[in-house]
Amino acid sequence: MVADGHDVLVPVGDSETLRRTVTYAVEQAHEAATESGVATTVHFVFPARWRIFETDRAAVDAANSLLDRVVTWAAEDLDELIGEDEPPTVDFESGTIGTGEYVFSPADFADVVGRYADANGVGRIVVDPSFRPGGSAPILRSFEEELANRGFDVLEAPVTRRTRRRLPFTDIGAPEFALVFSTSFLFYLALGGWLVTDPYELLTGVVTAGVVTLTLARVALKGQLPKLRVVGMSVVRLALYTPILLWEIAKANVALAYVVLHPRLPIDPRVVEFDAAVWGDMPVTTLANSITLTPGTLTVDVSRQHFLVHALIPDAEDDLLEGTLERLVRFVFYGRESARIASPRERLEDTEGENP
């Protein structure tokens, strides 16, 4: 790990202690600069959760305005440290990183940040303790640990957080609570008949939904609450997708029945690997389950967007690599424009052409 100079890198994300983290990073860089007599640079990087060709304008704008704000804060802090007219000891750079890939877990984020740090010769990373890219599931190593494992000097900014008052067993906010509660309550009422007016039933419904929400809301909802319009559009497109899927399932079963009942058992089992152009929990799950339900294919393993598929009947592999299902799933979750994409077979041939 090259740590020439005393440059500092700060991964930036929306968090309530960001302002004080910036101050701390600037102080660190200033101290290093005065000790060594060489100007240092503070790199503010925003690890993106989108991919450059799937760009959501709103997310990009939010990232850029956050970075602008951070640089302004840093300049203010530096002015306070050295006085208005002194020559500046610290430079600032800012940028968005990780737009070329799908970053997911803390390890992915650490990879992206680490690569940037290596490329720019930064050895010291200041992390904001309340910025948790990739989540903070207990089974995963934290972002800080992942970075420290990669040989960086990781400093946690000494910032204090406001304590938040929480409902027991949860750390969810009111909108999440309301969403899970109303869903489970409506489901309870639906099971009891649509028009329940009996106060006893309503009361048991409230109690049941309350218990479900308190214990399971964290499992039911992951990350930020999705926007209603996006979900609405997806639901409408999912309704269009369902008949196509049902038709595929019918075909799959006729094909399988033919194979199974044929005296010679004409199967051609093989294992197929491919990278799907979908990402995120819901789209990948939908695609994986759709593959399992359609002719001759069964999803064996998925890691990020790499699919391992077992194909049973002779034409199954071809169907899969034609990418019809993939296009449909992209249509459901990303809209009509995104559905026009090269099939997995064409993409496979392209990459083979590039690196023979």
Binding site: N253, A257, V260, R270, V271, E273, L293, L312
Partner: protein, 113 residues
């Protein structure tokens, strides 16, 4: 029989047929992965068709509502369960019959360089 009952009967009969196909498939197919095909596909359609047939007979009632919920949940859980079994088999390095190599460790596990 009313036409609706005839439709329902057809659904249940076809559903039962696919249930039978699933059973025959599990017995006849050669390895774990192939058998999962029968278990995940035919079984799903078999139960879904039978339940749909019953829902048609019951008409628009709370009971048929529950059957519809069952259909939806089967569509979600059945492939997921098949995937879980297939994945467990892969982790245990169960060798499939046929062409193609199973990569026992994925790129991700080999380390991010």
């Amino acid at each position: 029989m009313t036409p609706l009952e005839i439709v329902a009967t057809v659904f249940v009969v076809v559903g039962t047929f696919f249930g039978l196909v699933a059973t025959v498939g599990i017995i006849r197919l050669p390895d774990l992965y192939s058998r999962l095909h029968a278990a995940s596909k035919s079984d799903t359609l078999g139960s879904v068709l039978s339940l749909a047939g019953l829902a048609i007979v019951l008409g628009l009632t709370t009971e048929s509502m529950k059957l519809v919920f069952l259909v939806v949940f089967l569509f979600v859980t059945s492939p997921t369960a098949a995937h879980a079994i297939a994945r467990a088999a892969k982790e245990e390095e169960v060798e499939p019959i046929g062409e193609g190599e199973v990569p026992w460790t994925t790129d991700q596990e080999e380390g991010n360089s």
